[in-house]
């Protein structure tokens, strides 16, 4: 559970430092007029960005806990490591490209270059689907090589971790599909900007998660 605790420690430290800055040296019992200096908004950004940040914290917590469980269960003597298929390296490269493509689309949306939105979204979506298909093929390769899900717990973890990551990816694809449909039905860059920006953050996040997961899987 050390990993989870470190993660939690970081979250708590962030929250508490921020709250200290907000709340120390205030005297709540003193009445003050609600002038422009007294704001009811804590973070100078829009609500959706805040909500995504909170959600990413929850998602990180889920992955941290899975990895903690992985490292605890690994200690048992029956652990037989998986020989990861080489295909995973290719999938990783595809996911990196998907992230780059999304970032490129985001830059287009921010600077209002309408023409780059459609190709950008198309390429990022296609690369992501390619990644997901690649993961499924990797599953089949493992299965064909006799690494059945219930045969050893290392196999179970492999399927489980990749599946959870893939499901998060699919959730992202739902938002991707929504902004893609809007762009194809003529929405301008400004109206889909926030949605694309947040998706880009999510894609980068899932890329980072994948790299960590892949690292854990490879090193054990």
């Amino acid at each position: 559970m050390y990993l989870t605790l470190i993660f939690l420690g970081v979250i708590m430290a962030t929250v508490i430092t921020w709250l200290l800055r907000q709340t120390l040296n205030t005297q709540p019992w003193v009445s003050q007029p609600a002038d422009d200096a007294v704001t009811g908004v804590s973070i100078n950004t829009n609500t959706k960005t805040v909500a995504l940040t909170v959600f990413l914290t929850v998602a990180t917590s889920i992955f941290a806990l899975f990895i903690s469980a992985y490292t605890i269960r690994m200690e048992e003597p029956d652990w037989r490591p998986v020989a990861e298929p080489v295909l995973l390296w290719f999938n990783t490269a595809v996911l990196i490209l998907a992230s780059i493509a999304y970032h490129w689309t985001r830059n287009a949306a921010v600077s209002g270059v309408q023409g780059r939105l459609k190709p950008g979204l198309f390429v990022s979506g296609a690369l992501t689907i390619l990644f997901l298909v690649g993961q499924l093929v990797a599953w089949q390769q493992l299965n064909a090589a006799g690494y059945y899900v219930e045969r050893n717990v290392a196999n179970s973890f492999f399927y489980l971790l990749t599946a959870v990551h893939g499901l998060h990816m699919l959730g992202g694809m739902w938002v991707w599909a929504r902004s893609t449909i809007r762009v194809w039905s003529g929405a301008d860059a400004d109206s889909v900007r926030l949605s694309i920006e947040l998706c880009t953050v999510y894609w980068h996040f899932l890329l980072l998660v994948w790299i960590v997961l892949f690292g854990v899987l490879l090193s054990t």
Partner: protein, 586 residues
């Protein structure tokens, strides 16, 4: 930073006045309706949980008398009773119910920032409740694994409900977590981003602070339960060995090998302990506001109260293994977790002192909400003190799995939060419905419940000390149990039945008062926080044309030298009428 009111600025928040019955009451996106849906459903399933407890208390108090309770369904009743009360009643009621109702009103927002997601949250919660109820009617019935669902017995033959019951239980929990996450994202974002002008963090009522921090705890802790549930589902369906060790099942070697049951315990209690505070913190917050309002005094040590909430929230994540002292872990871990457990008593004690000091020399009005709030201080202190016993490894070892533990956690996270639930429902009932409840009936409800729970749980500590183990269907002929303990068991069961029957008073009161109660007016308690400055019940969008502006904290009661004994948060310093002196020396 220049102020821009989020609710006015953000185009993301949509306000359509609901028109039809269905959009107004069924698929409603109004936080107040959603709050009542959440609360109503939670109370409904909570009643089911209470009836279950009455049924197994019948068996415990009068063994071999009732043929309809056999060992199998006894375990099912105990298990589902625990699950319902902790998760489907208290978590849903405090966060989904009170969180939804109070956060936007107390922060001065028009609604939650994502109303559609809020609506999804309550309906997904409804689905999770339905799955839970359905689990009683599938082949083999609901799971009887105990509410902690420990493997290997939770999914091994011999335990009731290993066919479908346990699967539905795990699925229901996963669905609940999805619902909670959707709600939780809303509560956190609304508190952070949608407060009205002048509502700084340190002017928020403690209810909002407590629900806010409890939601953060939930968002970080529920994933552990989700992870454990998913892995156990795989162990059950695909015969993976995450938790399941190699064992003989019905004389045959199972397909499992090498799994770690203790890993499940770690994950479960990593969720389970913060869960105690997910339930307790909102109770702390609500009770602070009730005490302050009905004692006509500002809450003692507001800043300390806020920091105590944060400290309890932070500490709650590093005490989980005190539930596992008997799991055979490294004694140094036990030492560490005993220390953190005892440290958590410090901020908790600060809160208790501050509540008592809030009452000190207050102008106390012993109305029903106040009685429940004061009752809570008693039950919570008792439950907390027995927690100090159990937090120490050496004392916990002999007491573990006895009725002492059952008595402890029922006092601290059963009775105490439930008293606050009742107090808070009576306190905000006029706001939610526009009518007053019947005060006499509410007071009877309080005394019967309060004294009833004491007559139930005080003896339970004693039989726990004697060594009566929990979870047993019947005591049998055990030499160490004196006759008097058996009699006590009967008396505890009678108390439990009386408490259960008393709740009819509560239901009757809140249902009949909907029509027959006196008109309450906007602010019957002369309270200061924002929700009392709206009409009762508040309209859709809460604040009419313009949002409120806040000029002070929520605890300006009996301010010296002022005419009235309360100043609402919306009143600027220049508009406070100066009048009679409240006894301040000049």
């Amino acid at each position: 930073m220049a102020y821009v009111s989020i609710a006015d600025r953000d185009h993301e928040i949509e306000h359509h006045d609901p028109e039809t019955f269905i959009t107004k009451y069924i698929w409603s996106q109004d936080h107040k309706v959603i709050a009542i849906q959440y609360g109503g459903l939670a109370i409904l399933i909570g009643l089911v949980g209470m009836i279950m407890s009455s049924m197994f208390r019948l068996q415990l108090g009068f063994p071999d008398t009732f043929a309809f309770i056999n060992p199998e369904n006894y375990y099912q009743l105990v298990t589902i009773h625990g699950m319902i009360m902790v998760i489907y009643l208290l978590t849903a009621l405090f966060l989904g119910g009170f969180g939804n109702y109070l956060i936007p009103l107390m922060c001065g927002s028009r609604d939650m920032v994502f109303p559609f997601m809020n609506m999804l949250s309550v309906w997904v919660y409804a689905v999770s409740v339905i799955i839970l109820v359905v689990s009683f009617f599938v082949p083999g019935g609901a799971t009887g694994a105990g509410w902690t669902l420990y493997p290997p017995q939770a999914i091994s033959p011999g335990t009731p409900g290993t066919d479908w019951g346990i699967l539905l239980m795990l699925i229901s929990l996963a669905v609940f977590i999805v619902a909670f996450t959707m709600g939780g994202l809303n509560y956190v974002t609304t508190v952070l981003q949608a407060r009205c002008k002048g509502m700084t963090l340190m002017r928020m009522p403690l209810s909002v602070w407590a629900i806010f921090v409890a939601t953060i705890l939930g968002l970080l802790a529920f994933p552990a339960l989700l992870v454990a549930a998913i892995m156990m589902m795989l162990d059950r369906t695909l015969e993976t060995s995450f938790f399941m060790p190699a064992i003989l099942q019905a004389g045959e070697v199972s397909n499992y090998s090498g799994g770690s049951p203790v890993l499940f315990q770690h994950l479960f209690w990593f969720f389970g302990h913060p869960e105690v505070y997910i339930v307790a913190l909102p109770a702390f917050g609500l009770v602070s506001d009730i005490l302050s309002t009905h004692a006509r005094k500002n809450i003692f040590g507001y800043r300390m109260m806020v920091w105590a909430i944060l400290a309890i929230g932070g500490l709650s994540f590093i005490v989980w293994a005190h539930h596992m002292y008997v799991s055979g872990m490294n004694p140094y871990f036990g030492f560490f977790f005993a220390t953190t457990t005892l440290i958590i008593a410090v901020p908790t004690a600060i809160k208790v002192y501050n509540w008592v000091l809030t009452l000190w020399q207050g102008n106390i009005h012993l109305r029903a909400p106040m009685l429940f709030a004061i009752g809570f201080i008693f039950t919570f202190t008792h439950g907390g003190l027995s927690g100090l016993f159990l937090g120490n490894v050496t004392i916990d070892l002999p007491l573990s799995d006895t009725y002492f533990v059952v008595a402890h956690f029922h006092m601290v996270m059963g009775v105490s939060p439930v008293l606050v639930v009742f107090g808070a429902i009576y306190h905000w009932y006029p706001k939610m419905t526009g009518r007053m409840y019947n005060e006499t009936m509410a007071k009877w409800h309080f005394w019967l419940t309060f004294l009833g729970t004491y007559s139930l749980y005080l003896p339970m500590h004693y039989v726990g000390f004697l060594g009566l183990p929990r979870r047993y269907f019947s005591m049998g002929d055990t030499a160490f149990m004196p006759e008097s303990a058996v009699t006590l068991n009967t008396s505890m069961s009678i108390s439990a039945l009386i408490i259960a029957a008393t709740q009819v008073l509560f239901l009757y009161n809140i249902i009949v008062s909907l029509k027959k109660g006196e008109k309450a007016g906007p602010n019957p308690w002369k309270a200061t926080s924002l929700e009392w400055q709206t009409p009762s019940p508040p309209k859709h969008g809460n604040w009419g044309h313009s949002l409120p502006e806040v000029h002070r904290w929520a605890y300006d009661y009996s301010v010296p030298g002022q005419e009235e004994d309360y100043i609402p948060q919306t009143v600027p310093a220049t508009d406070v009428p100066v009048g009679r002196d409240h006894g301040v020396d000049h």
